[in-house]
């Protein structure tokens, strides 16, 4: 893989585990570049993940301590490690199904307690690994293996959820905004509080093919068109915001 990131990859790791065009690779790319920019020592870092495609971003690829846990429980494991050894810089990297469906309770409680973790949610709006079932982030109307006639249940706005739970730093970026994403990750890592980033990441294999995206690039293009920044959103009318995804830093003081 990229020579400039080689030092952050476990020796023997040569390729990503993702399907062609999976946004998780772009996120993986930005996480490592953020660490590279910050010159963080990998010996002091712990990457915790749950079960699902996104859980494979750090495990086994990252050249640091990695803890690949149970489905939904990454934040609970991370809480124990961080509380016992606060010198560890702990990043939780996992998927939307893992962190916000089965693991939603640990997410909101860690946000409430303000445990100093950085949680990066690779949000592909689907259960990828188990075959493309609807998630708690799947848009209304989207097709999935369990919503063959279109999803009827509203998805979470994860940033609103974590803000509602008391999160101090809450942001959303799309993998189509790699530089902002990288900067956001850097910022989150350096804040010694609970920080959360919702990262929109296309799944061409499970989401894309059911919802008629003909290529990874096509999915990426649609995602780019959907995203507006907070600043742009302020200038837009409610009608033109219809169906848009607002990205940026939703920072809030402690409740």
């Amino acid at each position: 893989m990229a020579r400039d990131l080689e030092q952050y990859l476990r020796s023997g790791i040569t390729s990503t585990p993702f399907c062609p065009g999976c946004g998780h690779g772009i996120l993986m790319n930005q996480i490592l570049r953020a660490i590279d920019d910050l010159k963080l020592p990998m010996e002091r870092m712990l990457f915790v993940s749950g079960i699902g495609c996104a859980a494979w971003i750090p495990s086994p690829h990252f050249n640091a301590d990695t803890l690949h846990t149970l489905h939904g429980r990454a934040i609970a494991f991370a809480t124990g490690a961080k509380m016992f050894n606060p010198a560890l810089k702990v990043l939780v990297i996992s998927g939307d199904g893992d962190l916000t469906s089965i693991g939603g309770n640990h997410l909101i409680h860690a946000a409430r307690r303000d445990i100093a973790l950085t949680v990066i949610c690779a949000n592909n709006m689907i259960y990828g690994m188990t075959g493309g079932q609807a998630a708690s982030t799947t848009p209304v109307g989207a097709l999935s293996a369990t919503t063959m006639e279109g999803n009827t249940h509203r998805p979470f706005d994860l940033c609103k959820l974590v803000e509602g739970a008391g999160g101090s730093f809450v942001a959303r970026y799309s993998v189509t905004q790699p530089l902002s994403l990288k900067e956001g990750i850097k910022k989150a890592i350096m804040i010694d509080h609970f920080t959360f980033i919702d990262v929109l990441s296309p799944c061409p294999t499970q989401y894309g093919r059911r919802n008629r995206y003909d290529s990874p690039a096509g999915m990426l293009k649609t995602l780019m068109e959907s995203c507006v920044t907070l600043e742009e959103a302020e200038r837009l009318s409610p009608e033109s915001l219809e169906g848009k995804i607002i990205t940026g830093e939703f920072r809030h003081g402690r409740a």
């Binding site: 990229a2 990503t16 690779g25 772009i26 690039a217």
Partner: protein, 98 residues
Amino acid sequence: MAEPCELKIKRRSKDDPAKSRYQTEPGLDEEAAVEEAGRCLVNNVCRSCDLCRYFCPDLCITMNEMTGSIEIDYDYCKGCGICAFICPKGAITMVREE
């Protein structure tokens, strides 16, 4: 079904004119955007704007620090085509794997 891994990327200096591209980084402030764009003024020729390196989901694009040029590790490229899509200069095209 996922795209089979049958395409490879070729780098070249000239080709058909670039199609209109999407704003790739809506999060950049104006100054940064102008700077990024400035590196890619000429069509169809790689200006080392680095976008493909950031966008590559397989982490197989490196910038050669000596020459400043982009290098792709074809061994681990899965042929998703995102680099070609994102290149503002149209400097990357996909070709069928021979």
